[in-house]
Amino acid sequence: MTGFRQAQSPDAQSPGTEAHGNHTATLSMQQALNRALDEVLAENPKAVILGEDCGRLGGVFRITDGLQSKHGENRVFDTPLAESGILGMSVGLAMAGFHPIPEVQFDGFAYPAINQIVCQIARMNYRSRGKLPMPITLRVPSFGGIRAPEHHGESLEALFAHVPGLKVVSPSNPHEAYHLLKYAATRPDPVIFMEPKSRYWQKGDVDFSTADAPGTGSPTGAKVMREGRHLTLVAWGAMVSRCLQVAELAAEDGIDVEVLDLRWLKPIDADALVTSVRKTRRAVVVHEAPLTSGLGAEVAQLITHGCFDTLKAPVERVTGFDVPYPSGDLEDEYIPNIDRILFGIQRVLEYRRG
């Protein structure tokens, strides 16, 4: 896989999945994440969870619900309201051999900890010539869609993805959430885990026994969520389910849309992008973040570079706008909606050379 340092084989999956047998359950993403964290704590005695309200309350979204009473106050604990402290403490814990799983309560609260994330977490392994790895899994409830106040609906993936040393991943449904979090929390490297908070409550089937459809490998790289012939929609996080809805509507008009869930936003699975778009020859990338210097530009370049000869049209981007994230009442105007995505598809379909 392009750019993937030490891509893990499925065999490298954490132990313990066997213990659950061939189980499938219908869970919300909140429940799937809670179960993944519970198992990580049980399997790795060095794993600790810390953050604002993570302990006694169980998190404002109940992701860590019940974990403190089950695993104890030394494993799951509340921190003061200071993100720089949460991430600074995580650096120290990692240096001391722990695997911290800190939570920044909302996307917009990551800013006070940017120094710790960029200057310490991302670099300590390099700075120490590998003597001080930073196995830190930073959970960030991310993206918009829940009518929350300022700093509660932002999309920081481009900011994180731009920092060498960080990996960035975002699940799109409960099955992905369970497996990607379990995978991320066993990496030796720092991973920013961006949870689409608007999808926390939607239920889906989780197959605990396999990370992916049989034979498709480990939870690294992108994943085709719907196959199609005419155009590829690339999305991640909460936008994946919206793109799947768009694909159903496009089918009514005779357009067969493929939906690619990028999943890993750093490193990006360029091979999967190129494989999909070589087939469909058209692509639209959708994200909630603002347009300029958003991850859509990176995706468009990777597609263009790998599919220049076969592309029928320039890659279109359907994104949020270049404004600060708006208040709840204006959210529906900001986040790409079904019609804006359909318009993007139509622009690509209409394009003619010359």
Partner: protein, 109 residues
């Protein structure tokens, strides 16, 4: 369904415990927000605690005469999963609506 635990809050400036006088709700009962849950006595006064939220009572801690420390569980509610978050609102799952129709001449070369 999800369970939410409500610990005994600090009922005054720096009080560390309270004594249960009488429970006004019992397990299995559906309560509304602000409905009185329990009467407790502190070193300052006897007060009725209003419910911080609506939900079904799953468990109550302590009987009349029992002391409960501030921060220890007082009552556990069961609430639907989609009201378990604290910040923001749960998005409604609705059938997708559209105004835009696609039209294309696809040359399958």
């Amino acid at each position: 369904m999800a369970e939410i635990s409500f610990p005994l809050p600090d009922l005054g400036e720096g009080l560390i415990e309270a004594t249960v006088l009488e429970w006004l709700v019992s397990p299995g009962e559906q309560v509304e927000r602000n409905q009185p849950l329990v009467e407790v006595e502190t070193t300052k006064s006897a007060v009725e605690l209003p419910s911080p939220q609506a939900g079904k009572v799953v468990r109550i801690y302590g009987g009349p005469g029992d002391k409960i420390n501030v921060g220890e569980p007082l009552i556990v509610f069961e609430v639907p999963d989609n009201t378990a978050g604290i910040v923001g609102t749960v998005p409604k799952e609705e059938a997708p609506k559209r105004r835009v129709r696609l039209s294309a001449v696809l040359d399958e070369d």
